[in-house]
């Protein structure tokens, strides 16, 4: 069974038609990459999947049941975690509080889950040193690690990552790549990644390429040809 199954999805920003008949499938334990130039609707697709945008038509099945009418917090509790572009750390909350909030998606919420799983500090050691700092005071790369750590603490079944390497220094990109690969291997979750960084794209199992709001190509990343890369990635 597919973990996520999107069919015929159409999303609008007021009157402008952004997503056109998008179909997409993700299996558990699979890393899928979404590529395409700026402004083709990649972020819109992720926002429709988590529920921040309401599609006008189409269907989203998560573990076989429709979630298209659910609110974002219900989708989060059913096992979808979202790491948005720009990280969206809660700025005046400490790193510790930000991480704790990641467990709101677990059954019982933060009322019953108070202990931060040390697994996170193994993945991102830097977070342990900054636990009492305000989230908004961290650098971009640290915020990105915090955002991914926060998402993982909710034990998601599907992780949506929007440009995790955008504007981040190369050694941190390396850390994030390693961490994401390790998470998939150890926990068997599905990952949908929006990415421009070719090295990271190559780590994925399959790719979907978007153009003008629709999926125009897909296949295993091993078959990514130079043509496709130059057409869909801004490298």
């Amino acid at each position: 069974m597919n973990l996520l199954e999107v069919s015929n999805l159409n999303t609008y920003y007021s009157e402008s038609h952004i997503l056109r008949n998008v179909d997409l499938r993700i299996k558990a334990g699979e890393m899928v990459c979404l590529i395409g130039r700026n402004g083709v609707g990649k972020t819109t697709l992720l926002k429709s999947l988590i529920g921040l945008l309401k599609p006008r038509g189409g269907e989203i099945l998560f573990e076989g049941s429709s979630i298209i009418r659910s609110k974002p917090h219900q989708r989060a509790r059913s096992g979808i975690a979202y790491v948005p572009q720009g990280r969206e750390i809660i700025p005046y909350l400490t790193v510790e509080e930000n991480l704790t909030l990641g467990m709101e998606a677990l059954p019982g919420g933060i009322q019953t889950n108070k202990r931060i799983d040390p697994f996170i500090f193994e993945l991102f050691p830097i977070l342990k040193d900054f636990l009492l700092r305000k989230g908004g005071d961290l650098s971009g790369g640290q915020q990105q690690q915090l955002a991914i750590g926060r998402a993982l603490l909710g034990h998601p079944k599907l992780l949506l990552l929007d440009e995790p390497t955008e504007g981040i220094q190369p050694n941190v990109i390396q850390d994030i790549e390693t961490a994401v690969r390790r998470i998939i291997k150890e926990t068997g979750i599905g990952v949908l990644l929006v990415e421009q960084h070719l090295h990271f794209v190559r780590q994925a199992d399959r790719y979907y390429a978007m153009q003008r709001g629709g999926i125009v190509a897909s296949g295993p990343t091993s078959e990514l040809s130079k043509d496709v890369i130059s057409k869909f990635l801004s490298v």
Partner: protein
């Protein structure tokens, strides 16, 4: 020495009334960003609930407990104003998040409705209405979701509504028949009388401090401490802070932002009710009582820096100090040999209403230089 002590006590007394009144607004306006012009009327609702509680405690059954009615009134006022506030949030304000001008107009309309409501509806029936709303709100949160499926849904909902309506009607008719003062509508002001142990004063260092003022100071301290513990230590406090700082992301993390809104607004409104108790101890209670405080409340919150509890505390005590210095003509007592022109100016401002004019002018002037108030938000995240 006596002068300083007296001045200090007066400033703290004035400041604590301002603070307890502004505390709810600091949450509703400061944290949620909702411009709630009906906040003063929520205070009025609290003041009237004190009055109703007092009358109920004069009934023969509850007469032995009359001495502690004020303490119970605090809890009742919190619940009553909180209930009215939650109803207001669910029916009006929820639809207007993100449009401050519309919120301002709508809540102003609500404040007029509430004022007319207490004029034309007997308080017994008003109590019945509040009880109906409270019980039906309680039902909607207490009944587990899985009971509300299929055919039973309609049955349970009707049952809950019927029960709450019946409870409301019963209370209303019982109150109307037992307490004659509550059975007629009246637009005249009513008086809350303090129980005997609260009258008079306490002597310290040869000076007398009125007990009601001391009680208000205690209520204020307890409210501020409770609010800051709630916001900083409790699970709901973390949720509230997260939602006020980044609504969309909080929702994506699994926080039900709707419940957070209801709880935040309910607590802010409930605090307005507690302020209403304090206000009812200071003077007579009428439909317009809230209007006297609303401007001061907004001033305190803006002066303190929006969204900053410590700022609100300091702002209200500095306004209290200034009111005492200017309004009571204390500058002249401190400095008797003031030059004549200055002395006459100071004298001119040393009435309650002129002192307010002076203080608001000073605050307006101050905000020209520090538009974000005493304690603006700092840090890397401000620019973005």
């Amino acid at each position: 020495m006596e002068l300083i002590l007296e001045s200090l006590f007066n400033s703290v007394a004035i400041g604590s009334v301002l603070l307890v009144a502004a505390l709810g607004l600091a949450i509703v306006f400061g944290l949620m960003g909702v411009i709630n012009l009906a906040h003063g009327e929520l205070m009025m609702v609290g003041a009237y609930s004190t009055y109703v509680t007092q009358l109920i405690f004069k009934l023969p059954i509850l007469k032995p407990f009359y001495d502690i009615y004020v303490l119970i009134a605090i809890i009742i006022a919190f619940i009553v104003s909180g209930t009215v506030g939650i109803l207001l949030e669910r029916t009006v304000i929820r639809r207007l998040y993100g449009s401050p001008l519309e919120t301002l107009l709508a809540t102003w309309g609500v404040s007029l409705i509430l004022q007319q409501f207490v004029r034309s509806v007997p308080l017994a029936y008003a109590t019945g209405c509040v009880i109906t709303i409270f019980i039906s709100l309680l039902f909607s949160t207490v009944i587990p979701q899985n009971l509300l499926q299929g055919n039973r849904r309609k049955l349970i909902k009707t049952g809950a509504l019927g029960t709450s309506a019946a409870a409301g009607v019963l209370t209303a008719s019982a109150l109307a028949s037992l307490v004659s003062k509550l059975s007629r509508a009246s637009s005249r002001n009513v008086d809350v009388t303090a129980p005997p142990w609260m009258r008079g004063g306490v002597d310290v260092l040869g000076m007398t401090f009125p007990k009601t003022r001391l009680l208000i100071i205690v209520i204020t301290i307890i409210s501020v401490v409770a609010v800051s513990i709630f916001l900083n230590k409790s699970v709901w406090g973390v949720r509230i802070r997260a939602v006020t700082q980044n609504r969309d992301m909080s929702e994506c993390l699994g926080i039900s932002t709707e419940s957070v809104d209801v709880i935040t607004f309910g607590i802010g409104s409930g605090l307005a009710g507690v302020a209403g108790v304090a206000v009812s101890l200071l003077g007579s209670v009428g439909p317009n009582v809230g209007g006297n405080y609303i401007v001061g409340c907004f001033m305190v919150v803006v002066l303190g820096g929006v969204g900053n509890l410590l700022g609100t505390v300091i702002a209200s005590f500095s306004i209290g100090l200034m009111t005492d210095l200017i309004g009571a003509g204390r500058l002249l007592t401190i400095w008797p040999n003031m030059p004549q022109p200055l002395a006459s100016t100071v004298d001119f401002f040393s009435t309650t209403s002129m002192a307010r004019v002076m203080i608001f002018a000073l605050i307006v002037g101050f905000l020209q230089y520090r538009p974000a108030g005493l304690f603006p938000q700092k840090g890397r995240m401000v620019e973005s």
